[in-house]
């Protein structure tokens, strides 16, 4: 009867396919065509260049505070590329590459960060949820969608995203538990960038990895190099295959680093060293992916340049379309909220709408000082 070990059928692995020099592990290298690889690279670059452009727009006050995504392209792209367009995608807010790949127009994304609900108008035929701000809450929606897929007998899967900090929320636990109990076809992708705003991983959890939390739910968990788009793709494809076979959810932890501030309102100097950042910049996912593409002969250095130019143009166009939309009366109409609260606006709400309509013309600018204060506060907050 004494003390005996319970053997648990779990091993948590670390997966890496493509190293910083662009050299690949031949055995693990996924079978992706040149077109696939180019497409992945293209959207990763689009996300990167857009992120850089958004920073300028934010500094100019043309959009509001936003979370930068540079450095997260590999996790986003490697995982989203493993599902089909008929599958579902439940994002958090750092998966710009994946959203662009899924078909979200540049101007739509800019509208969101510019303070317009229209930024969440999911494009036709795109099976995505919009950005989710309340941390970890989206994981339960993904679990529910996966459960619904089982209930309806659809052979689809859903991929969802969250950060290292999000894995501390109760909703993370409930989502993985529900998904595992009901064998829901969900791929939980943790973008472990080692910070939750200022809070480092060591303050977020005592566990060595997020991946090992899979053991709590009796599901497969793996940690991958989050700057290695091929490793992420391999892990995600394995998880998708299991999910399609009815084997339920998986947890994938992509280990990367938030080389940017948390958002444009954040000042990382308060909580971490420049050196730390420098180190991780060297491991950038795009640099190594480009090396790989060139070594593999998928594209030449000049192709790469062309891509950047192409994308610059695309981003410019998108920004222009955004600027026009952001000026349009329709989008600037605060009355719209009344129309979208319910399928049919109840009478009392209709009255409130008329009340506001009456005021809108009369509305005066709020006093200068208050105005300044708001802008000032906006810079610090959120």
């Amino acid at each position: 009867m004494p003390r005996k070990p319970i053997d648990l059928p779990y091993k948590i692995e670390y997966l890496s396919v493509l190293d910083e020099n662009g050299d690949v592990d031949k055995e693990l290298e996924p079978k992706l065509s040149a077109d696939d690889l180019k497409k992945m690279y293209w959207y990763m670059r689009l996300a990167r260049q857009m992120d850089e452009r958004m920073l300028k727009l934010q500094r100019q006050g043309r959009i509001g505070t936003f979370p930068q995504t540079s450095g997260h392209e590999a996790i986003s792209m490697g995982s989203i590329y493993a599902i089909d367009s008929s599958d579902w995608n439940v994002p958090a807010y750092r998966e710009l590459a994946g959203m662009l790949y899924r078909g979200w127009p540049i101007e739509t994304i800019l509208l969101y960060w510019g303070g317009f609900e229209e930024g969440n108008r999911i494009p036709d035929g795109v099976n995505d949820l919009p950005y989710c701000v309340p941390v970890a809450s989206q994981l339960l929606h993904a679990a529910g969608i996966g459960m619904a897929m089982n209930i309806k007998g659809d052979k689809k899967v859903v991929v969802t995203y969250f950060g290292d900090g999000a894995s501390s929320e109760g909703d993370f636990h409930e989502a993985l538990n529900f998904a595992s109990v009901f064998s829901a076809p969900v791929i939980f992708v943790c973008e472990n960038n080692q910070y939750a705003i200022s809070v480092p991983l060591s303050r977020q959890m005592k566990a060595e990895t997020v991946a090992q939390r899979a053991i709590s739910y009796g599901i497969p968990g793996v940690r991958v190099d989050g700057n290695d788009v091929l490793a992420v793709y391999v892990a995600a494809s394995e998880a998708v295959a299991r999910a399609r076979k009815g084997q339920g959810p998986s947890l994938i932890e992509g280990l990367t680093y938030r080389v940017t501030p948390h958002t444009t309102a954040d000042d990382p100097k308060k909580y971490r060293s420049e050196e730390e950042v420098e180190q991780w910049l060297k491991r950038d996912c795009l640099i190594r992916f480009r090396k790989y593409l060139v070594k593999k002969g998928v594209c030449s250095e000049s192709d790469i340049k062309k891509v950047d130019e192409e994308i610059d143009a695309k981003v410019k166009e998108g920004v222009q379309r955004f600027e026009e939309l952001a000026k349009s009366e329709e989008l600037l109409d605060p009355l719209a909220s009344f129309d979208y609260m319910y399928a049919q606006t109840p009478e009392f709400l209709q009255r409130q709408k008329e009340e506001l309509a009456d005021w809108l013309n009369k509305e005066k600018k709020s006093s200068g000082s208050a105005g300044k204060a708001q802008a000032e506060t906006a810079r610090r907050g959120g």
Binding site: E118, R121, G144, D171, P346
Partner: protein, 326 residues
């Protein structure tokens, strides 16, 4: 036509809804094999199977959060929170998503779900099992809040709630589950959400209530009539969000006097909102202050003493007499 109590009528509506719409699924703690701790989901698992009648792990945010996901995917989840005193665990999911997704996506995604929960006191239950905090949901833009007062309207309102294209909180006055029986027609009925009913006509005073309190309100109306010759206009709100201002206002314009009755705490309760709407619309018709006969701003006393907390006919009658003598 068959006689049944409210528990049975709600159960009947669930059976009917699941038969008529295969998108309807039921989930929650102990709703399957156990058929619900109040037996509201009786027979569902046997008839519709494990895919559509789901015993979940013990996690309210999980229940509501996955229901939101299911609804966005095209199902019509009807989830049960075992007691309303535990739905706070899921409030962030309801407020942040169920109530917002339509507006957030400008109509691209909607959350047609129902969250059912037994609420209110009067069954000698433990702490946290007798709360009446419906006002929290009434104060949450984007939600509808429906509260039946009898078998027939419970069934009709549950059908309306399940068919509603938006998120509905359906609170069941647990003290009424087996309090009395009523004829319930065979063919499916619905009632429009947001419309109150005048359940007794009178011109002396308006008694405005809902849920279990409506029953004591009717008792009070009877006493007022028989012992004092006072004719009360009794309004059953049926849904507290949207609140039917028109019916309330018309009644008060006629009577000039009103009392609002509910179990929940008084401060910022439904009573406050009813008074505010009367004030906004028919102030000059008021011949006396609108009285609030409600729960107090305390924790409801443990069950040996809970009845003192709950509005009863006596308190309503006395308030009515004072209002008329004002």
């Amino acid at each position: 036509m068959a006689e049944m109590n409210m528990a049975k009528a709600i159960n009947k509506a669930l059976h009917e809804a699941m038969e008529h719409d295969e998108r309807v699924v039921v989930l929650g703690e102990d709703v399957g094999k156990d058929e619900g701790v109040f037996r509201i989901t009786e027979g569902l698992l046997a008839k519709f199977g494990e895919k559509r009648v789901i015993d979940t792990p013990l996690a309210e945010s999980g229940i509501v959060g996955t229901s939101i996901g299911m609804a966005m995917y095209g199902l019509r989840p009807v989830c049960e929170i075992q007691f309303s005193g535990f739905d706070y665990y899921a409030y962030h999911q309801l407020e942040s998503h169920a109530a917002r997704m339509r507006n957030r996506t400008r109509g691209r995604l909607t959350v047609p779900m129902v969250m059912r929960a037994p609420y209110g006191g009067g069954i000698r239950a433990l702490e946290h099992h007798s709360e009446a905090r419906e006002a929290i949901y009434a104060h949450t833009p984007g939600l509808k809040v429906v509260i039946p007062s009898g078998p027939r309207n419970a069934r009709a309102l549950l059908h309306a709630s399940i068919q509603d294209p938006d998120a509905v909180v359906y609170y069941e006055p647990k003290a009424l589950y087996r309090a009395f029986k009523e004829e319930v027609p065979d063919k499916i009925e619905t009632l429009p959400i947001g419309q109150a009913q005048v359940v007794l006509e009178g011109s002396d005073i308006s008694l405005i209530s809902y849920g279990a309190s409506l029953r004591v309100t009717l008792e009070a109306a009877e006493v007022l009539d028989e012992e004092h010759g006072i004719k009360a206009d009794v309004i059953d709100l049926l849904s507290i969000a949207p609140l039917d201002t028109t019916t309330i206002v018309e009644s008060v314009r006629k009577t000039g006097r009103a009392i609002v009755i509910h179990e929940g705490p008084r401060t910022c309760g439904i009573g406050a909102e009813v008074v505010a709407r009367i004030n906004e619309n028919v102030l000059l018709y008021l011949e006396a202050p609108v009285r609030r006969v409600t729960g107090y701003d305390t924790i409801i006393p443990y069950f040996s003493k809970e009845k003192a907390y709950l509005p009863d006919a006596d308190r309503i009658v006395a308030a009515a007499l004072e209002t008329l003598e004002f």
